[in-house]
Amino acid sequence: MKSYFEKYKKTVHGIIFVGGLFALLIILSLVIKPKSGEVYDINTVQMKCEATAKERAESIDVAFAGNSESYRAFSPLQLYAQKGVTSYNLGASALRVCDCREILGNFFKQQSPKVIVLETDTLFEEGSPYRDPDAHLTNKVEKKLPLFHYHTFYKRWIPESVKEKDMYWKDASVFKGFLAETAVRPYEGGDYMSVEAPKTKIRETNRNVLKDIIKLCEKNSASLVLVSAPSATNWNSAKHAAVVKWLDENAPQVAYLDINEKLDEIGIDWANDTMDGGNHMNLYGSKKVMDYIGDYLTENYALADHRNDSNYKDWEDNVRKAGLY
């Protein structure tokens, strides 16, 4: 008996080791798994949630969501300066629509915005919480052992001196999530909206998430507006058609504005209004976009003008501090 055990001692040790490892992975997964739903970029989501949590509860009337097209085009300070409407930009770089949903869901816990503006470029990025949605086996493993999915959880803990330099944190309390860029790099291509682009459609994952966002807005009595910010290199007529088609078939009550079709109307000048050759608006372009968006929102939705309201003095101070509007 003893020699039998001695013979297989190392194998038994190996089995115990592997068993112990699995137990450890499961326990750690339970500990670090976020209470929210599945997200792709948990650290950015948490950074945005923390930044928005600093806002006074029930003080924001409009929220802008989406990826970098959103935070480069939609300026809450301009909207306040011109219309007195308070808003916040929840956009983040390459933010997937599943993460937009998560940030919005968290935002609704502290705020009751009347309008949610979702920039549409995010609908055509990968929307799944997984890096590669086709890696079925890997995704299954990450579902069972979320430690692998959220293993960068430690990155939430950074010194204040470093956090202050983070692009989503720095000046967020002043600019409310908008990132102003004055660099000019012209777009020199032609009329990208009149060029025939290959047919496309919104991916299934993104369509499902969009439905969730619509339900979320309805549940919180907010109106959803889809907006396509000007982007010569990212947007085209095929994407426009895909959004229109989906909305017609699934959510005709949701408004849609494609500013790429109103460039002349709002005076976008591609030689001056883009920071990176047509991908994103710069500050000059965003001013024109927000002129239009501000008019649209106040004409179509009952949004309060908080200028001259002493409860919103901090907004006045921020507009003055920014010195842009």
Binding site: R131, H136, H151, P159
Partner: protein, 529 residues
Amino acid sequence: MLENFITFLKSGIGVSYAMWQYPVLFLPVTLLLYQLFPQRFRRYVLLAASLLFFAFFSGILIVFPIAASLISYAAGRIMENIAGNKEIKRKERTRRRKRVLAAGIIILLATLAVIKYSDFAGLTLVRISHIFHGNFQWNLLDWAVPVGISYFTLEAIAYMTDVFRDDIKAEHDFIKLLLFIVFFPKLMEGPISRYNEIADDLSSGRATTADNVANGYQRILWGLFKKLVIADHLAPAVDILFQNNIMDGSLSVAAAILFTIQEYMDFSGTIDIVIGSGITFGVHLTENFRQPFFAKNASDFWHRWHITLGTFFRDYIFYPVTLAKPVMKFTKKVRDKFGKFAGTIAAPMLALFLVWLSNGLWHGPRWTYIFYGMYYFVLIELENIFEEPFLGVLKKLKLTEESITVRVFRFIKLFIIVIIGEMFFRADNIAIGVKMFMQIFTNFHLNVLAENAGFLGLDFWDYWTVAAGMLLVIAVSVLKERGYPIRTKLMAYPIAARFAFWYVCILAVVIFGAYGNGYDAAGMIYAKF
């Protein structure tokens, strides 16, 4: 249903060595099947696993390693038959065997050349034609390159040459030779193995042991640490720096240093995974790295970096060329005319030139790789010339080679040599490499690097992770260089302590590895050769 199953397999069983599917699925399943089968069938398990592994990457191109094995097998058997034919005179037997060897080598090298270098040659001819106002045109052939072709081609050449030299007997068992060529751990990044080193172990079908599996996986874990925690974290920064190479000399230096670290961690880490995989089956693949940054000079560096490539070139190019009669005659003439020292320098010069030209070309069809080879050729020749005078200076200064001053000096000199070489290796072309190099002297501003540190794709934690990882690797390297028996010392601890230690190591890779959401896959650098 079959199609869905294959798609599922492909999506799940990736597989590169650093993807989780390899150490968690592919390797254990292969080990289990290997162990379950009777001894005489185990080599077929290894063969099937190897062919499947290859097919996942290169599909139908699996015919290439099989063909290379067939050619080597046939060449070996023919040479053996010729050698055994006593009716032919000895000199004629040697001549015929040489022809068979030459034919085998030419077929393999020609295949490699056509697949990997034909477009490079064609485009070079186009450029030359334009310089002379010609009109030569080249339509890109864009051949699909089978994974590992640069590795298994050299192994096949080594096998045939060893048979020719009577270092080994020609293999009669084709399966044994095929398994040697396609053995999956070494397929993609080497090490470039010799037939007599591993073929018997591969084919023996000896049962694996718990010790083999434990030791193998410990080595794999170390490799994953180097690759995922250090190399893959640096990948975005290296890409950004080399894309913005014309900005400032400080960025050139940063690019050179970070790429050197990335490449070393990536390649040596992958080799650790490969060697660890071999250990699990009781197969001991040759070490490919031996603390290269502890080298005394560039020549010694290449005895410690990509060792098996260096020994291949030494055994199959350097020695044959140096010992060739015309070269020996030339060396004697130089020695007689210019003295012993000149003879020592002249003797290996042609061989070294061919070795470094081959080294550059082996890495791929790019002028930067050829430049890289020539860079080391020139430097090693210069080191050979100045080594004696340098030792004379040390003697005058009453310093020994072991003194701290000399060792620090040698380290700094070597480090500079290596990072500059790597900068050219990685640059998009030689002109950019030269520009990056010149900027170090003409346009160097440290504040530019400081200002851009936040835009290299590395955040606060990434910098600390890489720094901590590097410290650990340096500590382990120092211990290994001094011959400290790390694993033996670890084994002396109680089992609970050892378990805890390995759990911490595994979690370090799982938590701090640059994989998954937010990280792009950083492909294995040396797998594209």
